[in-house]
Amino acid sequence: MSSDPFRTLGLAPDLHLDRGELERRYVELSRASHPDHHALDADAARLSELLDRSAAINDAYRTLADRFRRAEALLELRAPGTLDAHKQLDPDFLLAAMELAERVATVGDAGRTALAAEVDALLDADFAAIAAALDAGDHGGAATRLHQSRYHRKARSDLRSGDSR
């Protein structure tokens, strides 16, 4: 099972990849392998292969379009297993993360925008730190920060789903 999304999309493994290039590759490869474009000219085995290929392209795109998931993929590529090895997080961080989750759960409409901006700032800081760690070859540091960012990503998505209530 190929799990290298960069390879699937034929892109150089790079945290700061060009979004336009990603979109172009994605559409180009989708056109070539989407089962819709081979409904009549391919046999069942070939169609099943195209289906798997299309699914892989879609999944790779979804990974690379998200900066944190892109960083995870890059880390897995450079130092396989590092993410799993650094799941243990600092208790102080976990305490702060729980407080943040509590604030997200109880925030009213009035404070929502401000809290969202606060979480966005945390995410930006996470990403900058992850990028720096990856640049410096500090894979363990990048892994820890990636795990931390998950709490902030969760907070952001919870805030979003509460937006229109």
Partner: protein, 635 residues
């Protein structure tokens, strides 16, 4: 080369009038919009997508099947016409039942005029006399009827189709729709989501690139999809909806008001005749209220006449909560897509219920912009399905459709919690591989339950089915590594594959659906439908004859008005045409009609080379005989 403005206006050129047809021998794939209230088919010809009409010019085929006392059945407008006379034998809105259990439909069934029972595995079945019909079989009849009309319009057989479903249909409802096509003897190349199809019809000309919201409110279902259209790529960003919200629900609210006015509770009405009459009246009032400020009707309550009137304000008050629910769906789809209303470049309204002023107003209020004109809410979905059919047959490689899965898919894990494997709004096809192991030593099988929905707990999601992973080699607990791949294909339908990693053994999987037909059931129904195929053939011949007869009557009359024939000849032909028309109206025996048609042919053949014959031939060949224009040539 020069073309007349309308190729159909030249009766002499037999090849030109078919200029919009696909070339003989080319593969023809129909796009079919299988709707709650109406269905229709379209194809892509050389001039683009167009709807295929019956001989009488009608595009919309009522999605109604009515059973006669002798076991035969009629479909479409003939069935709809029987709704009041045979309410308990006339099946409508079957799309609301497909892929659902009897228990889920208990409230719904109370409103229907025909009997819905719980059949095998608790599935919804329609009981006519002593025979239980699955919603799939009823839908198959509708599909066959639409196919026949399309075949008549094209003058050739067709068996390849693309069928649309609401974007929010879950796996069970999609599978059931596929089965319906199979039972109809059709080869369904693709299931396409209705709002996505509508966006194809809207954006195919390449001048509408941008971000689009498609709001699709039909007779029984609601969908909203947010799409990005760019350079022929139609990418769905998010979709949301409710497969049990549509015009039927608005009718039911009016019906409740009407019954209350008459001093009844909606639950009281058990008589199917009364139920059907009330439903029809309510629907009529609703339609009037789209253009009038108030509507009324008089009800004959056994001698005494009672009047009931309803204002548009009252109607809006009744439906406001339902309309608000659609707007909530829009908000949630926009949020999932990460799109602000200000970023929308266009709003497209589809489905008959979008004619309701409150619906339009609510969408305008939400999006801050007027919906696009020029999109026919009744036809857009079928036209889009035809465009997708054209893509599938290689006619249009420029278009690429990237749709999404509407609801998350997961499996049951410890403690009744759903572990999500595929998240909603993931672009399809999409796949996830998960590893499982055994809990006890030498365990050789694992049961896996599949759920669809957004909630955390099994009890709050819909169980799609279960399968047993067999053939695991005996090993200590936890040692086998079984990789199960869940793949959602381009139809939005789940496929499951499994493999034991250490031994490489492919485990066999047969998913037993919770809400649909098993493979065995589909096969049995197929056999039954083959047994009925002979009857069906007669039925189809009868339909074709009627279509031909209608076209001949129209053509002959139109031609006689223009022709300068001797009075006695005019009179004989007119009489022969009148005989055909009378038999058509009486809906009598096929043989008598065939004789009358032959007689009319003979009469017109006598003046074969003059205008009458020419005009009749043209009428028969033209797509819409009703639109026969007087041309220079005819004079």
């Amino acid at each position: 080369m020069t073309h007349p403005a309308d190729p159909d206006s030249s009766p002499r050129d037999a090849t030109q009038k078919r200029a919009d047809e696909p070339a003989r021998g080319a593969r023809v794939v129909l796009g079919i919009d299988l709707g709650t209230t109406n269905s229709l088919a379209a194809i892509v010809g050389r001039k683009g997508a167009r709807v295929l009409r019956a001989a009488d010019g009608a595009a919309l085929v009522p999605s109604v099947v009515s059973f006669d006392n002798d076991g035969s059945l009629v479909v479409g407008s003939a069935a709809k016409a029987r709704a009041l006379d045979a309410p308990d034998r006339t099946v409508y809105s079957v799309k609301r039942l497909i892929g659902r259990s009897g228990a889920e439909l208990r409230d719904e069934a109370r409103r229907l005029a025909y009997p819905v029972v719980e059949g095998e595995r608790g599935l919804a079945r329609i009981r006519i006399d002593d025979r239980d019909w699955s919603p799939e079989e009823i839908s198959a009849r509708i599909l066959m009827h639409v196919r026949d009309i399309a075949a008549g319009a094209l003058g050739r057989e067709v068996s390849d189709v693309v069928v649309t479903v609401p974007a929010y249909f879950d796996d069970a409802q999609r599978q059931a729709t596929r089965h319906a096509a199979e039972l109809a003897g059709l080869n369904c190349l693709r299931i396409v989501n209705e709002p996505t199809a509508a966006s194809l019809a809207f954006g195919i000309d390449g001048t509408r690139d941008g971000t689009v919201l498609v709001y699709d409110l039909g007779g029984g279902t609601f969908d909203v999809s947010i799409l990005r259209i760019a350079d022929g790529v139609f990418r769905v960003l998010a979709t949301a909806g409710d497969t049990h919200l549509g015009g039927d629900d608005f009718d039911a609210l009016i019906a409740r008001d009407l019954l209350e006015h008459l001093g009844h509770d909606a639950g009281d009405v058990v008589d199917p005749y009364v139920r059907q009459a009330i439903r029809k009246s309510a629907e009529g009032l609703k339609v009037q209220l789209s253009t009038a400020d108030s509507a009324e009707l008089s009800v004959d309550t056994g001698g005494a006449e009672r009047r009931f009137s309803i204002t548009r304000a009252r109607f809006e008050e009744l439906i406001a909560p339902l309309v608000e629910r659609t707007i909530d769906c829009c908000r949630s789809a926009l949020r999932d897509a990460g799109i602000a209303t200000a970023e929308l470049d266009a709003v497209v309204l589809v489905g008959g219920s979008t004619r309701i002023p409150l619906v339009r107003r609510s969408v305008v209020e939400l999006t801050g912009q007027q919906p696009q004109e020029g999109v026919d809410p009744d036809l857009a979905v079928a036209l889009g399905a035809a465009i997708q059919a054209d893509v599938l047959t290689g006619g249009n490689r420029a278009v690429l459709l990237l749709d999404v899965v509407p609801l998350s898919l997961g499996i049951e894990t410890m403690g009744g919690v759903v572990s999500k494997l595929i998240l909603r709004n993931a672009t399809i096809p999409t796949s996830v591989t998960e590893e499982f192991s055994t809990q006890v030593d030498n365990q050789t099988a694992v049961d896996i339950n599949i759920y669809q929905g957004e909630r955390e707990r099994v009890a709050d999601c819909r169980k799609l089915g279960a399968f047993r992973l067999r053939g695991i080699p005996p090993m200590p607990a936890g040692l086998p590594r079984i990789a199960v791949t869940f793949l959602v294909d381009a139809d939005g339908v789940l496929r499951v594959r499994a493999r034991e990693q250490r031994t490489g053994i492919e485990a066999s999987i047969q998913v037993v659906p919770s809400f649909g037909l098993t493979t065995d059931e589909v096969n049995r129904m197929m056999r039954e439908s083959i047994e009925h195929a002979i009857d069906d053939m007669h039925e189809r011949e009868a339909i074709e004859l009627r279509n031909k007869a209608q076209a001949m009557v129209r053509g002959t009359r139109a031609a006689l008005d223009l022709a300068d024939l001797p009075p006695d000849q005019t009179w004989t032909i007119r009489k022969a045409a009148q005989r055909v028309a009378t038999l058509l109206a009486a809906n009598g025996s096929t043989d008598a009609l065939r004789a009358a048609v032959d007689e009319l042919s003979k009469r017109t053949a006598q003046v074969a080379d003059d205008v009458v014959g020419a005009a009749v031939r043209k009428a028969l060949a033209a797509e819409r005989p009703a639109a026969l224009p007087p041309t220079e040539d005819a004079r």
